[in-house]
Symmetry: C2
């Protein structure tokens, strides 16, 4: 079911500082910041050639990464996103297997404009997993 | 400097259970467990097509992931490994920029038989970064 790693998301307390470290110290290909108010984050994409790293900074009052950064004030690894061909099939199969899809179990539109869901980290050894339906 | 994401490492308390979840529930391409006593872990590789996910379970008394699992008993995301062409150059450049290379600052032989170093997570927004020299 799961395909490629679409991105690895890292929550950071200071987006400009993190972007500078990846660009200037690690020599990474770091994009420009994009404010996504409907997702409660400002994001910077890092293109690693085979996948992407996303640096996420909270934006607004109800950011989905605010609680994570309260627990991890220096920042940290937040989730891994895998591509799936058909998210409705993936949800049905996962729920039939007993895995918990977060929220109301229906896909939302993610940061890339594609349907996404998140899976309960307790069902996957503590890792928050995002599934994103990516057109073939 | 950094190139492809070589792997994403996830520390897990129960390797067989985690492997079953990735294989049976997520339909991932999950390999066989490999005991690496010199690295203090048993590892299972998941091939996602564009990169690898490594599930790590502690092995022996001085596992480098034991403390992480004490803090995160359900498991969690442990580090991201990037490929570099020349690890000596990478270390020199990073140290000149003020970044801290863990241990004595010299490469060790990693789980894939290549030279590796780890960078201090506080210098990179809370993410533990491994650099692995991969032959071009």
């Amino acid at each position: 079911m799961i395909g490629r790693v679409n991105h690895i998301a890292l929550a950071v307390p200071d987006l400009a500082a993190a972007a500078a470290a990846y660009r200037d110290q690690l020599g990474a290909s770091v994009g420009a910041p994009q404010a996504l108010p409907q997702h409660g984050v400002t994001v910077i994409f890092i293109d690693t050639g085979n996948t992407k790293v996303e640096l996420l900074e909270p934006l607004g009052d109800n950011s989905p990464i605010a609680a994570f950064l309260e627990k991890n004030p220096s920042g940290g690894m937040h989730h891994v996103c895998y591509e799936v061909a058909d998210i409705a099939d993936a949800i049905a199969s996962l729920q039939a297997s007993g895995a918990r899809v977060l929220g109301d179990g229906t896909p939302k539109t993610g940061a890339h404009g594609n349907p996404v869901v998140f899976l309960h980290p307790k069902d996957f050894a503590g890792t928050l997993i995002e599934l994103e339906q990516v057109p073939a």
